[in-house]
Symmetry: D2
Subunit: 146 residues, 4 copies
């Protein structure tokens, strides 16, 4: 979903591997593993744009979920080396969509996921409830592909 | 999504609790936890209909995923006691949809999830690839609400 | 390890079940699952003594680990219903030991675990570092078996 | 624990990072995460010596646990980049000890873990019980530091 302005997002890539404990008795990846990867990939996407864990922590920011979905296209086995490719699908007022592709080293697309998240802040400091914040234009600009 | 024949599914309930390690630094449930619950809830739904882990294992059956999605409606905190209510949304030829509601003890619906799964079998025995199997009418009948 | 004073701890029990995703391609429980259970069991032990998640949160308390160990005595399979039986092994000045037995419904002891934890507090409030606190006698008294 | 013959093991290193979902409401790593890392590190150690996931799978081998322990020396935060350094502590007849150090990028040793494992085989093929196998001298030789 492109922005009306023709927004085109940077793509961040993280490496991951299917570990023994990520698999189930059928010998293939246990699907919540993909969501663990995808969550880590969203944080890495933001780190790549200058909003790393330390910055997020010091500014009491987090990115709570509105929804998440994943299509599973091919089974992954123990030892498979993969990459999660993540980009912003769309920026809304206080929320945004992150698109993810999970691709195995041989080029097979294993899964496609999408998360809708809120740009949230513990407005009263750590330990207080999170509230959605307007996404600054400066933030959006940092995700624009050159 | 009701079956044309007006299929109405049994509802299975499992209890779960938000543990310390299920939460993230924002102090709320880490969302892949819901997918772990929902997976366990699907297995419990089938156990309730007579297809328990032992039967599945002995018959080399599993239920690999086609897709999964979840909407997150309210944040859950460490210690929250919940219930996952699961039912068959639809039976296809070799696949089926499971609908889940995650409800906190105070009645708050925390999340709604949906999985599309295949009725799969390791046709050459354990360790061999899984293939989708036609879902027998007898199986469907066992999920019909009385 | 009994206290010099002959301290004998209450025993708390929590139910748990080996889920599909808790198992590995060998078809048995993936061992970090036991540590997840044991962590939840320690929190439940404290809840049973009056120090529930809500109290802990409001008082900025947590129980960080010094060490943890587990012996694995028998393999567990998908679907196995278990119980974690937890008790205080020893109270020190600011730390304590929790002993755990993981027992399957058929009476088989699957594993024995031990955690050494600190009675810790975010002394500057949420988001600040945790520091070990002297364990009050009143707390110790609540864990004494009648 | 060195072998009588003065066995000195190769050391395998894997990179890992503390993800958002690996942390708990205290904002530090949830300790079973270390055991997940350490399990993956043991598999990587064996892969480095020529016994990769594919070989293990085709030969119906696994490495079930006898015991596992970990000392936690310093807290890790979201975003911390780490390395697990793994080596064979000792080879027995059918079992072996793996020693692990978890070191943060700044050189801080976060944790030290030790696993005792069995060199196990599904002797009747996938889906059958695992039995300990004598560890071949050729295997031991591959772990000897040059």
């Amino acid at each position: 979903m492109a922005e009306p302005s023709g927004f085109k997002s940077i793509v961040n890539r993280i490496a991951c591997q299917v570990h023994w404990g990520d698999c189930d008795p059928a010998g293939i990846i246990f699907y919540p593993t993909y969501f663990r990867w995808v969550d880590a990939a969203s944080w890495a996407l933001f780190e790549g744009a200058g909003y790393g864990p330390k910055w997020m922590r010091e500014n009491h920011m987090a990115m709570p979920l509105v929804s998440a979905q994943c299509e599973f296209l091919a089974p992954a086995l123990h030892g498979d080396r993969c990459e999660v490719r993540s980009s912003i699908g769309r920026f809304g007022g206080k929320s945004f969509v992150v698109d993810h592709e999970i691709v195995r080293a041989d080029g097979t697309v294993l899964a496609k996921a999408q998360e809708t998240r809120v740009w949230g802040r513990h407005v009263g400091g750590p330990g207080t409830p999170m509230k959605g914040q307007p996404i600054p234009d400066e933030l959006k600009a940092r995700f624009r592909a050159p």
